[in-house]
Symmetry: C4
Subunit: 226 residues, 4 copies
């Protein structure tokens, strides 16, 4: 079994990079309670954290490597996995939406409370809906966006099991081809990019925008369409 390849931008083996990003995301409040996750595409396939683990305590040997050759609709094979009986993240089909429909290089899934509050503000009944904002410089952190453009992010309704989101997430992605994120009501957000650097930059920019819009609304100074 060969060593994991090094990521170009970080010069780290990808499993190590995933663990480092998970520790950072834990500090940001995106992956508490074992929620959320990260997946990065490498030359060998798709790296993905296991399901239901404490994200800030992950070790490189806990990370799965999946083939990106579909054997069924969302059923990519595990090429290499931890010895310890962990399971692949339930987000797998959602991560694969981004890999297949958008040729993403990395996907991040955050449970940030700002994502949940932003979705609730624009879809109080639980979705579907649309998050809207404009006039914020941080919009420039998003692909193709200027600070005076109007950002519209789809909000889909949550489902009892995460994998049941697959179809509605794919539909939202097709309806919003210029947007690299889907909000899930009461749940969080999926954000992707052509590589982990763009995915992380966009995930941080979205989190900032969700917070800025929610906090502006609380001040009675709404941004965008809220």
């Amino acid at each position: 079994m060969s060593a994991a390849p090094r990521d170009h931008a970080s010069n780290q083996p990808i499993p190590e990079l995933i663990c480092e990003l998970c520790r950072l995301f834990y500090q940001l409040g995106w992956v508490s309670g074992t929620g959320g996750g990260i997946s990065i595409r490498g030359p060998e396939g798709i790296y993905m954290a296991p399901s239901g683990v404490q994200k800030e305590r992950l070790r490189p040997e806990d990370i799965f490597l999946l083939s990106d050759q579909a054997t069924g609709e969302h059923d990519c094979q595990v090429v290499r996995g931890p010895a310890t009986g962990l399971k692949v993240s339930e987000c797998r089909p959602l991560f694969f939406n981004a890999y297949r429909l958008r040729d993403a290089g990395a996907v991040m899934h955050s449970h940030s409370v700002w994502a949940v509050l932003a979705a609730r503000l624009f879809a109080p009944q639980g979705g579907p809906g649309e998050f809207v904002c404009t006039g914020l410089e941080m919009q420039k952190g998003l692909r193709g966006m200027g600070c005076f453009d109007t950002l519209r992010v789809p909000i889909i309704a949550n489902t009892p099991r995460e994998s049941q989101l697959t179809a509605s997430m794919a539909e939202a992605m097709q309806a919003y081809p210029d947007v690299d994120a889907v909000l899930v009501a009461g749940h969080g957000v999926y954000v992707w990019g052509r590589d982990w650097v763009q995915a992380k930059t966009q995930a941080e920019s979205y989190d900032y925008l969700f917070r800025a819009v929610v906090e502006s609304h609380r001040l009675g100074l709404p941004v965008g369409g809220a």
Copy 2:
């Protein structure tokens, strides 16, 4: 005196693990002002932090080991303790509620301001009462809960001394057999699990849910029964 046994999930001696978790919980704002605490059951007995100490500065040699054989109702013997004249946490009988009534493997007690605000929102007169929420993905971090189930957490009234909570906490636990937490008005929350990993996951999930409900309420977008 034998060395402390290693925890299976963390591969650390339990006293070391308790100190590490205390440092983390300090950063989360759960154990400031010497409040809050953690206890973990090991093969030798129950490990517990001392009373009234700065949780982020604990050292493994400060941790008590208690027998889990009751000698009186709540009076488990100290098997091994620090040389420095520290006292066992006043939470002892409350931690033992979880060990005895639920066969817990670990108990966490947080003074998080989100727990206090959530209790105040649902029991403004100081309890008893019931925290309610529904529709949040993070509910899946709790034993037996789906995201569309309705979560109900008992709130008990606070008492002048912590040990006086023992009976009302036990009653609340018996009235809510599917819930692994008890809120104490003006005080915080007790959360437990079959092992420290589940207890921590549930403690983080509860803290997130308390915050999400409080922040939603502030936005005029109440969740659950608030």
Copy 3:
């Protein structure tokens, strides 16, 4: 020149301990913008951080040692100081209030935004006034307080120069002999204790109480007399 003595509770030389606490307080938001400070009494005299420095970057050699023998009313002599032309903190006479009137072992001065908001809530015109709360477990972190007692903390008006607070702080201390803190409107809080451990425990407990009361008020669920 002899080495600085080790603190009993931390087993660290006191100047090192002050630097470590300053880094922690910076993370807590108490000493940003060079504001706030710490002073600890040792066997040789009073240790104090310099004025107007970045608290999270302090080094042990930056710490002053002052005699605790008054030569004038508030004019204690510098026994040892940094070579670099730093000045003793302008808080000196306020710290000495606690050393002289209460025989304190340590004093902490925080600019926490929660202290400022709490003072504003109870003294919107800028003081004098009184912060009030009751029913919060964290009150037990304060000397002599139970959780059902009513806590009353004096709020004094701010003055153009910090040293001008000396007399009104002393008066407030005499009027509230059971309280180890004075709030300064628009400014922050002074908290002390018999040693640095009690001073820190009380400073954290007060910060928590200020925040809990402010956040409760925002939820329309006031605590105490707000």
Copy 4:
């Protein structure tokens, strides 16, 4: 090529110091999503971080050195830059405003959500406008300010491209000669000082003041002219 000179106050090479401050500012929420930045003047010229990079992962070899001899209006030459094809920050002309008009030693640009909310509160239509506050001790962290003075910070309207802010920022600087900061609506704040220590102290003080004013407004207890 000679080694980078050491900064006097930190005794670090300036590129290292910039990286360390970027990590700190990331933790403070000022530079998420690759936004914001820092520039420090050294004896050899102006040091500046590259554009669009993850600020918490910067390495000293990523930092540009620019001549401070203008070759065109805002077109200072790159003396030394990273090998990796990074571009100089788009903030370059704005940083040079502070170097040229104020003889600054360092400039910091923060995207802090508190700066954005403060600007929105005082210029809900997007600027121009003026942030006002008074009565806060932290005003003393600003050059020439007392705590009972009235602080007025210019707010300029944002522009599609950062470099388009150059003229309106320069005008605001000329109109407010006693203030070392310019707020940009929906965007953030530029803060400078005679050296990096003063620039950082002022940046932290402004961030605190923006937050205190926004939070006071939320409590229905406005500070200053809001």
